[in-house]
Every structure is written in C-alpha cells, then in structure tokens.
Amino acid sequence: MTLALIFIAVLMLGSAALAMLLRNLIYSALLLIVSWAGVAAFYLWAGAEFVAFAQVLVYVGAISMVVLFAVLLTRQNHSAELPVEPATKARAATAILSAACLGAILAAAILSTSFHHTAAEAPATSVRQIGLELMHRQGAALLIVGVILTVALLGATILAATDPKRKPEDAP
C-alpha cells in the first residue's frame, strides 16, 4: 500500500514539476492532466472512489479541455523558441519571497493540524451516505453551489441563444 502511495506521489509531483520545467506548453498542459489523474489515483488509494471519479470527470474530462483550448488559442509567436529571459536579482528575490510565503502558509497549516497516529479504519462510505450527508448537514452549501452552477449554465445557454443576426443556413 505504501509503495503504491509513493508511486502515486512521484507520478503526481514529478509530472507537476515537469509541467513547470518544460518549455512546450502543450506538454505542460498534458503533464498537468497527468498530475490531476494522479490526484484521482490518490483518492482511489485512499478509498474515496466517488471523489476520485468526480476528479477524473471534472479535471481530466472537462477542465483539461478548457486548458488545452486556452493553450491552443493563445499560443502565438513561437513561445517554444523564445530565449529565456535573463534572471535578474529582482526576479530571483520575488520568486524566493513568494515561495517562502507559500511555504510558510503551508507549514502553518500542516503544523496546526493534529494528526491521529492511530491506524484509522477506512470509513466505508457509500454514495448514498455521501448524498445524505450532502443533502442534510451540508444542504445549504449544496444548494448555493447548485444555484450558482445552474445560473452559470442558464447564462451560457442564454448567451448562446441570443444571436443578433441569423442566416437561413444557421438553422439547427
């Protein structure tokens, strides 16, 4: 089990690191997707299959498409061949500073969490239980998220439906 965790972690972090290092944006995007799939694998390893499938569906299935679309539509002037700008002292200082800030926040978050060192039983949650939990205790949050998403969906539909000029050949 631990071996699998190490493998998943290496896959996740390795692909994420590579995604940052590579100059080819498409490779970076694809590696980012691999990293997301690694997150899903981690959820699966942890026994949360519902979350894992949702992660794959949303990130690998949908958000990856948006990322790839953005990359394909914005990649203009051969960015792959552009020389790397010389690192200045100011840039290095900013990078170190922001990395330190992030590290501090993460460290604070990790240190403030109290870990139980007992071997925890993996809770056998079924989808039904998750649903009931969402509907009862987290009902308000679910409702808000649902309303926001539905409004977004309706907004997209209305944006698509309001078409100023129509030609006969545009008929669906």
Binding site: V56, L57, G61, A62, R128, A160, P172
Partner: protein, 413 residues
C-alpha cells in the same frame, strides 16, 4: 422484481468459469477469476466490434440501395482438397480487414511528436475498454459492481477525447489539429447534455450503481408491461437526449466533425496508418458499444426481458439483442443524416439539448415527488409530466426554427 429464473443457459457461462477456476491452485484462483472475466469481455466485444463493422457496411449499403461487401469468403487452404466456393455473404470481411491493418506499413510523419503519436491510440483503446467494466451484461454478469458506477463510466469515457486531441496535435498536420480542436469543442458541448440526460434516472432510482438501476426497472405494470424508463415521459425525453449526445460523444455521423472526410481528409486519423489506425477505429466502435450499453442499461431495462413469458431467454442474450438494436439504430441514423457544421453542432447542444435536459431533471423530480399518487391522480401525474416534456420541445423548436421557413432551392429542382 420477478423471481430469477435460474435456467441452465443463464448459468452456463458462470459454471464454465467456476469450473475453469477450480482447476487452478488456490492462490491463483482469484487472479484467474478476474482474468477470465477480462478475456471474455475482450473476446466477446472484440468479435462484436468485428461484426459491427461488417454490419455497418452492409446496412449502410442497403440503406442506399447498394449491396455492400459480399465477396470475402474463406481463404483457400492448401490442405483442403477443394475450395469452398461460397462467399458466406462476405461475413469474413472483418478478418480480412484485420489482416490488412496488421500487415500494413506503420508510417509516422518525420515532424510528428513520436511519443504522443504512439501514445494516443493506446490511450484511446484503453479508456474506451475501461467503460465496459461497469455495464451489467446479464443478471449475474457485472464485471465490477461499483457504488459510483455511472460516475466511473463517464470519467473513463472523458479521457478518450483527450487522446483524440493528442493524436491531432502530435501529427503536426493542419487537418489533424483542426480535428483535435473540433473534438474538444464537441466534447465540451455534449458532455453536459449527456450527463444531464442521465441525472433523471439517478434521481428516480436514487443510486449510481448500474446493477440497482437495472433491477429497479424489473417489475411489470399490470403484470405484463415492462417498467422500462423509456416508457415514462421523462425517460423518453432523457433517452432521446441521450441518443443525440451519445452520437456526438462517439464522433459518429451526423456529428463526425473531427473526422469529416470532405473537409479534413480524415481528421485526427490523417497521419495514422496500419494498426494504429485500426486501434482508433476499434476505440470508436468500443465507445459506441459502451454508450449503447449504457443507454440499454439506463433506459431500456438492461438485461430484463420485455415480457414475462420471454424470460426463458437468458438475460445476457436480451442485453445483446437490445445492444444490437441500439447500434442498428445508430447505423440507420448514420445512413440518413448529413453532417452538421461546427456552429450548428454547438448551437444544437447549448440552445436545445441543455435547456431540455435541465427541464427534464425537473420533470424527474416531479415524478419522484408524486410517486404516491394513485388512481386518477396517476393520470394527472402522467399528463403533467408529458406536458413538461412536450411543451418546451414544441416552443423551443419553434423559436429555434423561427424565420427558417422551408428553404428555397434556386438551383435544385
């Protein structure tokens, strides 16, 4: 739920597997059990794919008043003293095609991204095969009984379009790249109505498990009418939306824009040849079969027999028959309809299918809330549900086609 008829035919494949498993030593039995399942799925659906291709070619030909492939017979074996003259109606065509695909030269463009170019067909076949894991092929024939089976199905299916993008981008070909862009746009447009059309079923059955969904369609109305979801107003609307979205998801005509021959040569397949091409072809049919199987499971009662007196036929045969029916319908549609333009495609999704699917979710919610209505109220329930389906369709259709009165053809008779 009816009592499960435990006939010999129903049990035969399982008995065969158990017999084969118990021949092996203990520790290997677990592995063998699963391997046999996997191999059985690969063999059955591999053959099914082979015969789908020939059925498609023959059916398309008949739909266009042609004969279709009818030449390929048995190979002339030198050990046989005579040659079988009969061509078997060309039924061995897929095997000839397979031999051809395997022996063809595999050409990779010099400028292509070799790694992604190689990876794309592998990914596309792997993910399209993964979806078969959660389809209940029969009463006892569910490879993996997942709690979140539906979610798994869509998650596995979502990765195939990513592979199409990889294929298109790595080929370094303008047509391929355009096809990849189209594939992405199509996926974004149709993933939503596809999932929204499935939500009503989940809402009514209260489960994501395919097994439970099939079982909930298992009893008879008045003792003989099947209680399949397609025979309810919301189920029918959901089924139609599912059909359209499934056509688009599996890149089939009339939504075959990523490989539109007249515009993009062969789309993302342009730079593929030999067995890699065959893999894409295979994945397309696997995807189609899996989506058809999901449609059968969700709306057409899965492996349930349509009438009580027909239950003596094994459940897996019922599933296959319904699956074949669905695929025949897809072929029929392919032989009839013209390809859409990309803007028509996205418009159909966002202006028509998504609103209808959203309304259908509300319809299913109404259906769930009125489960306890009986007697004349049952009629009211059906009426209201029908109105929720028909009125939006009618008005949306009218507003969408407003101003598009019958097109006048100036140069055609």
């Amino acid at each position: 739920m009816t009592t499960a008829p435990d006939s010999f035919l129903e049990r035969a494949p399982l008995e065969l597997r158990d017999w084969a498993v118990q021949l092996l030593p203990g520790p290997l039995q677990w592995l063998a059990h699963h391997l046999i399942t996997v191999v059985a799925i690969l063999a059955v659906f591999g053959l099914f794919f082979a015969f789908t291709t020939i059925a498609e070619r023959k059916l398309l030909a008949r739909l266009q008043n042609r004969l279709g492939p009818n030449r390929t017979g048995l190979p002339k074996f030198s050990i046989l003293p005579w040659h079988l003259k009969h061509t078997l109606f060309g039924l061995s065509q897929p095997f000839a095609d397979a031999v051809k695909a395997l022996t063809k030269e595999d050409i990779v463009p010099a400028a292509a991204d070799h790694f992604l170019h190689f990876l794309a067909p592998v990914i596309v076949v792997a993910f399209s095969l993964m979806t078969f894991a959660v389809l209940p092929f029969g009463r006892e024939y569910l490879p993996v009984d997942l709690d979140a089976a539906l979610l798994y199905f869509f998650a596995a299916g979502a990765a195939t379009e990513l592979a199409i993008f990889m294929a298109g981008w790595s080929s370094r070909n303008k047509y391929s790249l355009l096809a990849a862009m189209r594939a992405l746009a199509q996926l974004i447009s149709y993933e939503l109505p596809l999932i929204l059309s499935v939500v009503p079923v989940v809402l009514v059955t209260g489960t994501l498990s395919t097994k439970a969904i099939v079982l909930s369609q298992g009893y008879w109305i008045f003792g003989f009418l099947p209680h399949w979801f397609v025979f309810t107003p919301w189920g029918f609307a959901g089924f139609i939306i599912f059909l359209i979205a499934a056509l688009a998801e599996s890149n089939r005509s009339p939504f075959d824009l990523p490989e539109a021959e007249s515009e993009l040569v062969a789309g993302h397949l342009t730079e593929y040849s030999g067995f890699k091409y065959a893999l894409f072809f295979m994945a397309e049919y696997f995807g189609l079969t899996a989506l058809s199987g999901l449609g059968v499971t969700l709306f057409l009662g899965g492996w349930q027999a349509p009438f009580p007196f027909l239950e003596f036929i094994p459940s897996y045969l019922w599933f296959m028959m319904k699956l074949i029916g669905m695929i025949m319908f897809f072929i029929w549609v392919r032989g009839t309809l013209l390809r859409l333009r990309i803007d028509q495609l996205t418009r159909l999704a966002w202006q028509f299918l998504v609103p209808l699917a959203l309304l259908n979710v509300g319809n299913a919610a109404f259906w769930v809330l009125t489960t306890h209505w009986a007697g004349p109220l049952q009629l009211v329930r059906w009426g209201v549900s029908l109105v929720i389906v028909i009125l939006p369709f009618f008005f949306l259709g009218r507003s969408l086609s407003a101003g598009y009165a019958p097109r006048t053809y100036r140069y055609a008779p």
